[in-house]
Amino acid sequence: MDTLRKRTKSKISPTLYIAVAPMIILFFVFHTIPFLRGVFYSFTDWPGYGAWHFVGLRNYLYMFSNSQIGDAYWFTFKFALVATILVNLISLALAVGLNSRIKFQNTMKALYFLPYMLGTLIVGFIFNFIFGTLIPQFGQALNIGWLSSNILGTDHAWIGILIVTIWQGLAFNTLIYLSGLQSISTEIYEAAELDGTTPWQKFWRITFPLIAPFFTINLVLSVKGYLMVFDQIMAMTSGGPGNSTTSISVLIYTQGFQGSQFAIQSANAVVLFIVVAAISLFQLRILNKREERLQ
């Protein structure tokens, strides 16, 4: 058996190479080449058509001096950080609740996961109405000043975007935390209870360390997703009022396609890639360390 295993594994049939080739070539042509071309254009002044010249690092230097791009980075980082923290705190609380001895547990679980199924664009449109018409109507009827106007038209528009993102983001994160909580055996808790642990201690000393891998998954996916935020902004504010809710992705789209900043936004995309890759690698290193510790 051992010799067979060696023989079958070490000699790879050419069929395998041929069968894998088409997908790999297509992937290279439609993913890697655009990526490399983007990096290339970021060092030119190409407007998206016609002639171009090399301009060295001019686009990158422009990025640092341009307030619109700076604002987009500030908004995106602020948004991603706050959304990640709030979504994970609330979904952890929801998961603990859903994991306790409640009635209709499966129905509740299905209900809380439902927002994940809905397209972010349409969710954005629905909340657009809630913020723009429904809440101001209530505010005016009850004479509450700050509720009477559309939050999306004020300096706090980003909070409107944040609320929609949390509403939808909770679904996935809650599900992951819940599956983490359900993987913990109840015997551990029973033992802890007999030792006289308080619920607070029970959570921080037992539950949290045991669901740490699930915490990492949620954190990695949240940060990456929220740094890319696009759909809900296009549905609700299109980046406004002013530039106050223009995320990096929205800026790449609006200025790169409709504006004349193809090359500058290519540089912006490269920087966005570096940011996302650096954060993901950093998080993966922590993940790997934890796995090593568990082994």
């Binding site: 655009p34 071309r37 983007g38 859903l98 209709f104 397209g119 429904l134 007999l194 699930f214 993901s280």
Partner: protein, 290 residues
């Protein structure tokens, strides 16, 4: 160990207190929250879609007379059948070809990467491509796609199949590692070719992962907005999500018409969720937690 020992000392108290003790406070809080926060916005959508503009004074009230014509108007205005068929085509073709091609690539690369430098390199190539989000490559991609005349339903479907590869390779790779190699060896002894080994032996075993990949692919293509937005400009080629954005200006303040249109897009997904909720939740979970 400690747990079982201590429980055997005081079994009575534990049995009486623990299993049937429903937490009514948590139930009530979670139920109220779900009704207001989750079902609330959906109720709002349904109610507005069923009214005409004159019934909007009390937005949340159920309409005294149901106005079905919103659906008919939205259907005609957005050319729903065309957009629905486009979206359905993209979704179904993407699922079928993603499962066949991506599972094969992932299998070949994972199984043979310890014996082939090329496959080992490809594994790292694909997995590292996960760090490149679509937003980063979309500017040059759009130029390239229009050069290849792929700015249509067929083109975008091919792109979905290709772009899913890194993530799906990652998902399938974890699964392939658990399949005992003895099964494939037995098939090779019986004279099966590598492709036969894959499609007759490995492919059927991968079924649970196919389900996960199918669900994630469905959610991605049905709800995707950015890729259709940048690639599909011809109205005849547009998807349902993109149509909602394109017609936003024309819906203007006729919320009844707009919400009827949203309902038409949400309904297929909601129906699927009602029937396959258990599988969808299981699939999404296993896609994230390996």
């Amino acid at each position: 160990m400690q747990a079982t020992e201590t429980t055997s000392v005081k079994p009575k108290k534990l049995k009486r207190e623990r299993p049937n003790h429903t937490n009514y406070t948590a139930t009530a809080i979670l139920a109220v929250l779900a009704i207001f926060a989750i079902l609330g916005p959906l109720y709002l959508t349904v109610v507005i879609a069923l009214k005409d503009p004159s019934q909007m004074n009390n937005v949340l009230a159920w309409p005294s007379k149901i106005n079905w014509s919103n659906f008919k108007d939205a259907w005609e205005m957005t050319d729903f059948p065309t957009k629905f068929l486009n979206t359905l085509f993209i979704t179904v073709v993407n699922i079928v070809f993603t499962i066949i091609t991506n599972s094969f690539v992932a299998y070949a690369i994972t199984r043979y990467r310890s014996h082939s430098k090329l496959f080992n390199g490809l594994y790292y190539y694909l997995v590292s491509a996960m760090f490149i989000p679509f937003n980063v490559i979309m500017l040059p991609l759009v130029k390239q796609v229009s050069m290849f005349h792929m700015d249509n339903v067929f083109g975008i479907t091919i792109l979905y199949i290709i772009f899913g590869l890194p993530m799906n390779t990652f998902l399938y790779a974890g699964f392939v590692k658990q399949i005992p190699i003895a099964l494939e060896e037995a098939a090779i002894m019986d004279g099966a070719t590598p492709l036969q080994v894959f499609f007759k032996v490995v492919f059927p075993i991968m079924k649970p992962m196919h389900a996960t990949v199918a669900i994630l692919s469905f959610m991605w293509t049905w709800n995707d907005f950015l890729m259709p937005l940048v690639l599909l400009s011809n109205p005849k080629q547009q998807t349902l999500q993109l149509a909602q954005y394109v017609f936003q200006g024309q819906f203007s303040t006729n919320y009844n018409l707009a919400f009827a249109s949203y309902m038409l897009v949400l309904a297929p997904v909601l129906l699927m969720y009602i029937f396959f909720q258990r599988y969808i939740i299981a699939g999404v979970t296993s896609g994230a937690v390996k």
